[in-house]
Amino acid sequence: MSTVNGKAEEPAGASGRRAPTVADFTTGQEVRWCPGCGDHAILSTMRGLLPALGVAPENTVVVSGIGCSSRLPYYLDTYGIHSIHGRAPSFATGISINRPDLSVWVVTGDGDALAIGGNHLIHALRRNVNLKILLLNNEIYGLTKGQASPTSKVGTIGPSSPFGSLDNPFNPVALALGAGATFVARTIDSDRRHLTATLTAAAAHKGAALVEIRQGCPTFSAIPRQGGRGAAQAAPAEPDNPGAPEHGPIRLSPGLPIVFGSNEQWGVIRDPSTGELGIGHGGDSRVVVHDPGTQNSTYAYALARLAETSLAEPPIGVYRSVSQPSFDQLYQERLATARPGGRGDLGTLLKGTDSWVHAG
């Protein structure tokens, strides 16, 4: 982020306007999240990131649904809509189709995007609408006081599930890959550097980009997570278990072997007979080299599900990043090619081909 501060001092080219700063993206509204909530870190990252992207505040639109995370647009001094529960991708799609000149972001949560808004999310992804979708996943309904969400682990205790939830959680990355998303990434709120790098990569992607940002809920989380916080940290060290929390999440880097642990003693290996991914030793010749650019999403999907069997935390990083025409681009091309002969004439249209004249 050091370049951001440098840029802030420079005039922004021919327009004569100075480059936007963090302050330009900060509103006067009081931020009303719980102390310790990851949303603060995400907001702060966004305020730092947006000026670095070189997009002017007036050309940025942030659309959200309902939930704690969906308050975020109020705190970013761009154009924004705090819409209704689950529907943010639909409003954002309407904006993107009609205004391809804008940088359109969606901020949503696990309840907003995956429960009430699941339909809109998958369709925005399959259409490859040019949206940057930040899915803030704290595995709980915070704003309605702690009910289990579609990403809550089985057995989550909450006011609506006092004996533990029964339903299997969604894996947001796997779901996005299944919907045909062209950019899918996962990051965490507690690692500012990783968060910034991931959001920067998402912003650079042309088309739908889904970024799952895993975070804790300091008020309602039934299962505190993520190295450095709560029960996981207090657990006894298990150096021989690759799934032990102290190893932290696997970090995916394009072109590098997927290894982890303090001495890179563990690695993700592919079973040559089945193609399935599993955990092995870091020195194994079968360790996979990460390639998010693979068109076929089978690999990314297998990677996304890795944590469900053998790891405490799922891998973080860019799972998939492939180039396909975005929906707004296809739409504009269709608009341009479908009107040979230029602008239509209203009088000619209304008259049609079978009109007649009454002399009166």
């Binding site: 505040p57 007036e58 009107r339 239509g344 009454h358």
Partner: protein, 656 residues
């Protein structure tokens, strides 16, 4: 079918007809010349009825097209099942098309047919109850087989058991004659099989009807050539069947009379025939031209509104953008997002879709952005009667949202009026930054009438000006307050993304008056609720007053309507007045708010009668707002009112 006089003239067959073809093998025209009566009528109602697969809608449409070209006034009523192919040969699968045409201005598709074309026993069974004694009945005798009679539910053959005695029956072996004609035609020789030949039987029926009513036929031949341009042999088969039907009329002994309906005297100008959904689509395109905004339609397929999505998707040359969303909610969401971005956002649906869109309409009320919500009403509740008409969504449009969420409502009165109503809805939406309901219905959507083309210069200028400058001075300098209202209209400024310095966030949470930041302050909420209500109520000062038609000036009974009932109500009033009774008619285009003079008018009559295709929704609103004890006349049969029926109701109310 009233005769306006005795036989006016006779004509020798095959010489006086507008178009006579000399068929190749079927007829020897020279031997057929004899005298036949031509009767002049002032109006006729014809109905085509057959199986869903028989092409009755196309036949009716084409007969209507011929009639429009001839210059009659007309009104149509298609009536078809929801299933694409209901079980063939059963009454459930019968598809009908009724056309009323005349030498004077008419208002409805007609109460009862003067002539019914029945392509099979099921069509006869489903439609015979509507046929008055003495009417012409053309039946396809080839279809009256044992199996078909059974499927239609006939125990005995109505052609022979006396069922049809009250009618003027023309027994026509339509299927076999069509096959013979097609196979006899040189252009089709060997290239059209029997099944394909049989499928042209609707064109035989059209040819016969065209002959019987002296319709011009050039257009139909051209239409068939164009429609089947990729399969010339099918075009030839249909044209051969069409001509054979026409020539059959010339030669058969069955028809001793043909009918003429002179062109109507109509206001001078250029006309075209138009359905409500087409006129509505054109109105939305025109609204884009008039506002200077790109039109964006976010929609999801639903009967009977899908035609608007289909039509608008063709017109990219007008910058019209259409988006078929994943559901009704996303359709309106995309439209509202488009409006935020500076387009004219529109969504189209029917009643069940409105239910799904309600939350977003509420958001649009709160965001105060322009949005046109088109509801082509159909029979409800729930899935109801998808292809039948009703006007039972009025209260849904009025109240179907949480909180105090007023939305202006506009309703067209006829198919052609859908154009003007769409322009009006867009005017209110853009001027007042509000969602607006446009309530059409299935009858208007699919019905058609001649439409006098509007002159471009007569259309209103709806140019929209976006806000480009800060509108408030704060402690740190110029600011943009998204809820600082125009003092006259109470509309808020519309600043679109891309405008520097006017960045702002809006949402469904209550916001502070003026500045627009989140506010839970009790007094502020009370003020904002009242401001939104006052903004919509103020539209009453920006719409024309309610007009009353009372030719004698002596009426003590007012009949009040809205939407598609205009035609039947006006026709009913004419009938009553023709008997020397007095009745006043008023018809509401704006249902929220009502025109400013509505209460005054209602209170100046002894009785107010409100006929509606629902159980009294407008009546509920009128009683609540004006304390007028209006009388209801209500039916929900999926069909428009009949003029005679309303005339009877009016007489009863007048004479009580």
């Amino acid at each position: 079918m009233r005769s306006v006089g005795p036989a006016r003239r006779t004509r020798p067959i095959a010489t006086a007809g507008r178009l006579v073809w000399y068929p190749r093998r079927l007829l020897k025209v020279s031997e057929q010349v004899r005298e036949r009566e031509t009767r002049r009528l002032d109006r006729v109602v014809v109905r085509f009825a057959g199986d869903s697969g028989d092409g009755m809608q196309l036949t009716g449409e084409q007969f209507t097209s011929e009639t429009a070209t001839f210059g009659n006034d007309l009104s149509t009523l298609p009536d078809f099942p929801a299933e694409i192919r209901a079980p063939a040969g059963t009454p459930a699968g019968v598809s009908g098309f009724q056309l009323h045409f005349s030498d004077h201005d008419i208002l409805t598709p007609g109460d009862a047919p003067d002539v019914l074309v029945a392509m099979n026993p099921a069509a006869l069974k489903a439609n015979l109850k509507d046929l008055p004694p003495g009417a012409n009945l053309i039946v396809n005798t080839d279809a009256f087989t044992g199996g078909n009679l059974k499927k239609a539910g006939y125990a005995t053959d109505p052609l022979t058991d006396g069922t049809l005695d009250p009618y003027l029956v023309h027994r026509v072996p339509l299927t076999s004659m069509t096959i013979n004609a097609v196979h006899a035609a040189e252009e089709t020789a060997g290239s059209v099989n029997k099944k394909e030949a049989e499928r042209a039987k609707n064109m035989f029926a059209l040819g016969l009807m065209s002959w019987l009513y002296h319709r011009p036929t050039e257009g139909t031949v051209g239409f068939l050539e164009k429609k089947f341009a990729k399969r010339p042999e099918i075009a030839a088969a249909n044209i051969a069947a069409f001509r054979a039907g026409f020539n059959y009329g010339e030669t058969t002994e069955s028809f001793t009379v043909t009918y003429e309906v002179a062109p109507a005297r109509m206001k001078s100008g250029t006309y075209r025939r138009i359905t409500g959904n087409l006129a509505l689509s054109y109105g939305l395109i025109a609204a884009g031209e008039l506002t200077g905004l790109p039109v964006f339609l976010g929609s999801y397929p639903i009967t009977p509104a899908s035609d608007i999505l289909h039509e608008l998707s063709k017109h990219k040359r007008f910058g019209v953008r259409t988006f078929q969303a994943e559901d009704e909610i996303a359709g309106i969401g995309a439209a509202l997002g488009a409006s935020f971005g500076g387009s004219l956002g529109i969504t189209t649906t029917s009643g069940p879709g409105v239910a799904l869109k309600s939350e977003t309409i509420g958001l649009a009320v709160s965001l105060e952005l322009p949005l046109v919500v088109v509801d082509i009403q159909r029979g409800g509740p729930s899935t109801g009667l998808p292809t039948k008409t009703e006007q039972a969504d009025l209260l849904q449009a009025m109240f179907g949202r949480n909180g105090e969420a007023p939305v202006p409502i506009v309703a067209p009165r006829s198919p052609g009026d859908c154009f003007d109503a769409a322009v009006e809805a867009a005017r209110l939406a853009t001027k007042y930054r509000t969602p607006v309901f446009l309530l059409s219905d299935g009858y208007l959507a699919n019905g058609s009438e001649p439409w006098l083309l509007p002159k471009r210069e007569a259309l209103p200028d709806l140019t929209v000006a976006f806000t480009t400058e800060p509108n408030h001075t704060g402690p740190k300098g110029p600011e943009f307050w998204p809820y600082l209202r125009d003092p006259e209209t109470l509309a808020r400024p519309w600043a679109v993304p891309g405008t520097p310095g006017l960045e702002h966030r809006i949402g469904g949470i209550e916001k502070s008056d003026g500045q627009g930041n989140i506010s839970y302050d009790p007094a502020n909420h009370d003020r904002m609720v009242r401001l939104r209500a006052a903004k919509v109520a103020g539209i009453a000062n920006d719409i024309p007053p309610l007009e009353v038609e009372d030719p004698s000036g002596q009426a003590r009974v007012l009949v009040l309507g809205w939407g598609s009932t205009y035609g039947p109500i006006a026709a009913g009033c004419r009938r009553v007045r023709a008997k020397g009774l007095h009745v006043a008619q008023a018809h509401l285009r704006h249902l929220n708010p009502f025109p400013a003079n509505t209460g005054e008018i209602l209170r100046s009559y002894d009785k107010v009668l409100i006929p509606e295709m629902n159980l009294g929704q407008l009546r509920t609103l009128i009683r609540a707002e004006f304390l007028v004890d209006a009388i209801g006349y209500n039916q929900v049969r999926g069909l428009p009112f009949k003029a005679a029926e309303l005339a009877g109701v009016l007489e009863d109310v007048i004479n009580q």
